[in-house]
């Protein structure tokens, strides 16, 4: 099916209030599963399944020099590897623009929500801080890597335990019971606009014909802490307003899976 046919077909269905897989417009796929501590070699990890989409997220930690502009704060890094394992259209090699955007949007949600109390990751001001490195590895991309990856990152951070550190070397073979200093958990919901319709949790086929998307990251106190608009079509203020409302409302459903 070419782009125009696919778009007409999907839009035609949406006009009748249904999706390609029979869901309603603002319904998540089933099942949604979050399994923290999925990877034993990582300091923290989670596997997230939304419908047929499956993502593994791992957290590794290290002791590093702080960045010069934040000498008393820990370092945070988010990476996403979109390899051909999960989707035949991804290419191996250095991260493409898709992977960079995905990682940066998830990074922003975590950073701007102030979910991690990064001052508590300081060991010695200006010299040594803990670095938290989050990696998103999709296993099967059936759409909505933004929200699955973000949910996985949050669950992985919650499951993270510091490795042993004697002031000189990190002993990765031994994990302490110490958790990351966390608060105010952010949840990411990506709303897509196809024609006149707003949908959440898109399938790959829907992502391919989406006119615009808006990733909304909402904290548990209701504050929005990150936004990212994607897609080629502009949004009116009214549309933006309904997308934000929908995102905030739907974040409550996802939040249940990490509490």
């Amino acid at each position: 099916m070419n782009y125009r046919e696919a778009k007409e077909h999907i839009e035609g269905l949406l006009n009748q209030g249904i999706r390609l897989d029979g869901r309603k417009l603002t319904e998540y796929r089933k099942p949604i599963k979050v399994e923290p501590g999925f990877i034993e070699t990582a300091e923290g990890s989670a596997r997230v399944i939304i419908g047929e989409t499956e993502v593994i997220v791992g957290v590794k930690m290290a002791v590093e020099e702080p960045y010069p502009d934040t000498p008393d704060q820990g370092n945070l890094m988010v990476g996403a590897e979109l390899t051909p394992l999960s989707n035949p259209e991804f290419e191996s090699g250095p991260p493409g623009i898709q992977a960079i955007e995905l990682a940066r949007v998830i990074d922003r949600g975590i950073r701007e929500s102030k979910m991690i109390d990064s001052k508590k990751l300081c060991i010695k001001k200006g010299e040594k801080v803990w670095a938290v490195m989050i990696d998103i590895s999709p296993i099967n991309d059936a759409g909505n890597l933004f929200d699955a990856g973000a949910l996985g990152a949050i669950a992985a951070l919650k499951s993270t335990r510091f490795p042993e550190y004697d002031g000189e070397k990190v002993n990765y073979k031994k994990h302490t019971n110490k958790k990351l200093p966390l608060n105010k958990i952010p949840i990411s919901v990506t709303v897509h606009k196809i024609g006149e319709h707003l949908i959440i949790d898109p399938l790959t086929e829907e992502e391919n014909v989406s006119d615009a998307r808006l990733t909304v990251v909402v904290r548990d106190d209701g504050k929005i802490c990150a936004l990212q608009k994607g897609g080629s079509m502009p949004l009116s203020s009214e549309e933006l307003d309904s997308m934000l409302k929908l995102g905030a409302e739907k974040s409550k459903e996802l939040r249940k899976f990490i509490e």
Binding site: I39, T41, G58, G79, M133
Partner: protein, 232 residues
């Protein structure tokens, strides 16, 4: 003094788990887990090859890739992206799998095999090959045989099967020998060796490895059959 194991016999592999059809988007896929080492494999193709100049008009090409996920190792984060080690492993993976495929059916095309490991504790290339062989079968390709693989080795003059990371890093005399076997013919399609071993122990270790590969073969076959089982 001969080497002893605490938790298993010298010719006994770690616990093995295999599952077929774990990646819905792929044309064929499988997961193979031995101890903590977990490998996913996806097969895409036969499909058009890009860049086009790589195409071979006489036969298809098998193209493997291998990667550890950044959080897959005990220790520091693994930098993503290909490196010399992963490229070499991809090459020997291709060579381990090639003998069972008939690529003359697919001129000008490529079969991509993508192996990734979310969690590792030694024996990664062998786990990857086991998963890849199942994924190729799951993709419906004509195959002469499956491929089963395991690392064998020798510690202080004692041959052993399926080294753990701890054993690989053993202080004394160690050899680490990943092998892949075509179970029906018993032929070997992967053989590498790191370390020190004499010829007699090498042959012993390989024979032990072949036996374990036959067990792995049964597990692989069972996993393949399970996917296509009719559920009542």
């Amino acid at each position: 003094m001969s080497y002893k194991r605490k938790d298993r016999a010298l010719d006994e592999p770690r616990a093995i788990e295999a599952k077929v059809g774990v990646i819905k988007r792929a044309d064929g896929s499988a997961m193979f887990k031995i101890g903590k080492t977990t490998a996913y494999a996806a097969v895409y193709g036969p499909r058009n090859i890009y860049p086009r100049f790589l195409a071979d008009p006489t036969k298809g090409i098998l193209r493997a890739s291998y990667a550890m996920m950044p959080f897959a190792g005990v220790g520091e984060r693994v930098r993503p992206g290909p490196n010399r080690r992963s490229r070499e492993i991809a090459l020997v993976t291709e060579q381990a799998l090639l003998p069972v495929l008939d690529l003359s059916e697919f001129p000008n095309s490529v079969i991509d095999v993508i192996v990734e490991l979310p969690q590792t504790d030694a024996g990664t290339r062998c786990a990857g090959i086991c998963a890849a062989a199942m994924a190729l079968a799951d993709a419906g390709l004509t195959m002469k045989d499956l491929v089963a693989a395991v690392a064998v080795g020798c510690i202080d003059g004692t041959p052993i099967v399926d080294l753990s990371k701890e054993e690989e890093d053993y202080e004394g005399e160690v050899a680490d020998i990943p092998i892949a076997v075509l179970p029906r013919s018993g032929k070997i399609s992967l053989l590498q060796l790191d370390g020190e071993i004499d010829k007699e122990n090498l042959m012993k270790a390989i024979e032990m490895g072949k036996k374990v590969c036959r067990k792995i073969y049964q597990i692989q076959k069972a996993a393949l059959k399970k996917k296509y089982e009719v559920t009542k």
